[in-house]
Symmetry: D2
Subunit: 328 residues, 4 copies
């Protein structure tokens, strides 16, 4: 349930206020150089403390438990932990008065109240640390491919700083739009149906909390276009196309043009203003103020995670495709 990938398989675990969160990568080839400092850059991009992100500051130092020896991957499962040092659990307890927009209600129901509900427990965005760590290693496997995701819009506004400043003033939160491009793509990754590049990328992207939509290439605009406008004309023997409505994918398979997709991120559910929600003890709707430390616009932290899961998908597909190219 918490695993993804066929060859480069990732498994996440942990709870927001438990001992640690972390990841296991099983199927990573041996001989890849991995040092602790390799994680720093992406960890900083995700880090708390920037304007618009929660004031909770974790050290977020990756602890390598297995699979790396003398700074190289060994071929055995790679386990990386991130300790949860800075917990303030008393801020939370929402089993009977679930926060709107959160998983409190469904977690309580699904797990018959046995779920760890401190800070969202296993549902916490903190779990994306493991995804990030896997992404750092995946990026090394797909070294020729370059992936860039960035926030292009917040709260419907291209002037992102302004939008955040305004949201802070309103004690409210805002969503955002992230664009992701993978360039220098090989031809032939992916499969016609269930393992189409779109299927795998969207599967991984929707594993990130708070994603509401994804579109590839022309995306929702395609529905308004005619075939003659939408078809991308191939212009050279490498398969380069004049336009990229396909988003770099035909029939589920990468066509060598840039992989391009856009995702929508919802506004943070936890906000400092009072909201009504059902109280399962009193059996009526009541006001609730969600305390704790929260992002005004958590979409700010998501681009690096989008890159990470994209890298994991592409690493998996690249490892799978090697097998095809080299066989027989």
């Amino acid at each position: 349930m918490n695993t993804f990938g066929r060859i480069f398989k990732i498994q996440i675990f942990g709870e927001s206020h438990g001992q640690s969160v972390g990841i296991i990568i099983d199927g990573c080839p041996q001989g890849i150089s991995v040092k602790e400092e390799d994680f720093t850059f992406d960890l900083l991009r995700r880090k708390s403390g920037a304007k618009g992100t929660t004031p909770r500051k974790e050290d977020d130092i990756p602890q390598i438990i297995s699979g790396i020896y003398n700074n190289f991957t060994t071929g055995a499962p790679i386990t990386i932990l991130f300790k949860n040092s800075n917990k303030r659990s008393y801020d939370y307890n929402f089993k009977h008065h679930p926060r709107p927009g959160h998983a409190d209600f469904v977690a309580f129901k699904k797990f018959n109240s046995f779920n760890d509900d401190r800070g969202g427990g296993h549902f916490s965005g903190r779990l994306t640390l493991g995804l990030l760590a896997a992404g750092v290693i995946a990026k090394k496997i797909i070294s020729n491919i370059s992936i860039t995701a960035k926030l292009t819009e917040a709260g419907g506004n291209k002037n992102i700083d302004e939008a955040i400043k305004q949201a802070v003033l309103n004690k409210n939160s805002i969503g955002g739009i992230i664009e992701c491009t993978a360039s220098n793509m090989p031809v032939g990754l992916g499969e016609p149906f269930f393992d189409s590049v779109e299927s795998l990328i969207s599967h991984a992207v929707f594993a990130i909390p708070g994603i509401k939509g994804i579109e590839f290439g022309s995306g929702f605009n395609a529905a308004k276009m005619s075939g003659s406008n939408h078809n991308d004309k191939i212009i050279n023997a490498g398969g380069k196309t004049e336009t990229n409505n396909a988003g770099g994918i035909n029939g589920g398979i990468s066509n060598g043009n840039n992989l391009f997709f856009i995702v929508a991120v919802k506004p943070t559910s936890s906000i400092a203003v009072s909201q009504e929600t059902y109280n399962f003890k009193t059996d009526k709707t009541e006001n609730l103020i969600v305390k704790g430390r929260h992002d005004v616009c958590f979409a700010l932290r998501v681009p690096v995670i989008i890159e990470a899961v994209t890298a994991c998908v592409l690493a998996d597909l690249l490892l799978l495709s090697n097998l095809i190219e080299n066989e027989i």
Copy 2:
């Protein structure tokens, strides 16, 4: 590569102009009534021949090969074939002069020219017959849940008949928008991360040829909203919410409200007007007229397939959740 699901596992196979296309369902519980005529209604909805769909008319009679005995599922793998009776392969041959918007180029490259290229081969939309058949059975498993998908827009126009008429006149093709709702949903289907309802539904939906985007609940609008507007207020003990921006899903798990998502379908790639594309024999771009029989708006046929894959995902999750509810 051509399989999907954990318990209710589906495997598709076949080529457009080969002997048959079909599906295997492994993991379907025994004791479900299945008759040949149960497939008729959904097959008719997908059928060729309606205005805007291709004139190729197949009989599309499901042949049950295994797993059903005395009109009940036996618990063994269910195999269903659809014969390809009406093939006109001479219309196609695009290995060296690939059709824009099609998988011709990537298929040739990925499979080193060994791919069956007659009518798109394994990449054909005809493969969705297998998905449809699996959906018919899946709908019986999730009998309390009702799934409805419909085309709400074609070529950017709510007046769908008009839009298609116009496209036929233009010898062009158009895309469309499909909305899907699953009502009477239980609380608790899905998992926090990789097996979130969104991850699984999008994985399955992007396996359908020609899908360009998907959004759940508020979707791309969420990116423009504030948290106070976006959060769905819970109003009763069953978890019913006043609004449904969540699309029926929190933290990856169904919350008992309607599952709601929208998908964008691209315009048919094969059009009757001349288009330029690269000719790999002459090494230059050249005009191409795609012969054969094609849909003007294949989005017309997609709603029943969207329902089918949604039913497969929900059947799988329901079977998985039974296990949780009944254990210990």
Copy 3:
């Protein structure tokens, strides 16, 4: 439940007296030459009609449904059917009076009586035709490796013809011992724990009906040996060992020496002499004579199936290992 393999994935289906039995192979690389006659030799080795095997004679002609085009694999799923032409279902009906040694009782219980019970239904040894077909293709993938399995003993007797003649006279059945050797093995197939060569081979071998035991290399004798006798001395740079108590495997991984294992096959459960078993209608034990056509020593047919599943495992591991060798 009816699938096996990670890259070279096989899925079996069908019932003894249904329309067909068959196999799907998903993940087979493109470009492998496959003709109908390639199956003939192994089909003949398995075929009914030899002394000691059942008089039921099926034509057993493989029908290729998908995945092969112009006599080469295309990279798409390969589907092969074997029609069940020669059915005499009236011989069977054991839901209430289950045959000893058969799956009648468990099938009835597990599937709440919905199982197809004609001739053993999905439990029939006839399903091994699909395994055989997969093996024929797998052997082409591992072309440098040569696999040979043979019956070395029947009913405890090295003089196999004699043993069978005697069993026919007794209207009884006998079991047998099969030895399997794969030579010209590469170093490095398999994984340390759950995907050890022994784990995968035994998993596949016990999928064949009637197998009771398996041992690798020194096998059960190892339990009686001392370390100094058991350790295989490495004698050259290729890893060749003086003895082969390891059966060609160390730490779950092939070491380049011959893979060697032995399996035990039970006597055919269906015998022509009267046996007692419980009658669930009368609620007491009663005599039963199993009619129908049955092997006196079905172990005679098993070597070719042992080779087939071994080839499938090795093909899968070889495809997986290519990826490792060629990466980075």
Copy 4:
């Protein structure tokens, strides 16, 4: 590669002389009581220090990292670590002069020398601690089923203490035979082919280092028997049989009688007497004395691990079967 199970999925990781070894269990139902002391009994059974086992003494205290809250499973992935406190890596270094009977040679080749070779690295028997921990939890899931494995023979001798005393005197090692019985089995666990009980148990058992053979019920004796002797007569409506040659399994499915199987364990490869093996630096065979601390008869520690993997398989099948019983 290091995972096993469909619902109750286990993933092992770690190296003998790395930071920790451990396990993740994904798919364990919520609400199962788990305390640290629940592991003590089985850990003591596996523990170093008994006569015939290695003098290396680890504290072996399970560290619960995730998935357990207030002493109950939460439904989220359960991670358990065992720190490696007592390492003496200088004893080992066998990349160029591999120990006979060990994985040194194959690990070096397979992982292009990047493998962690300290104390066997990821190939170490220390990894079975994770299996043991999973087994402790699995046993709680299958609480009605009772599993007992015991060493019945060492070095070919039923007088086990005597055999070990003798081996210690000889500075040699010996193998052993383990019998395992699961009683109070339900009818209906397992599947006809690839998920037969024998397939799954043998897959898991051969993941334990040093296992050479497995047989179910009559096992290798079956090959010498006639059908009339081998068939187990059903004697009551619960499916109880007079004999148990089937080992509690028909057609791959549990029949309600005791599950019974026997495994062979090889003698410890590391012995204190000098052995010849190839030296890849000098390119000739040379004498080697394996230092370090080693078991004389590591089979003594294996029964508890056999129980653990059996419990994992049965827990997985039980969870899967619930779904079937409760569906429709």
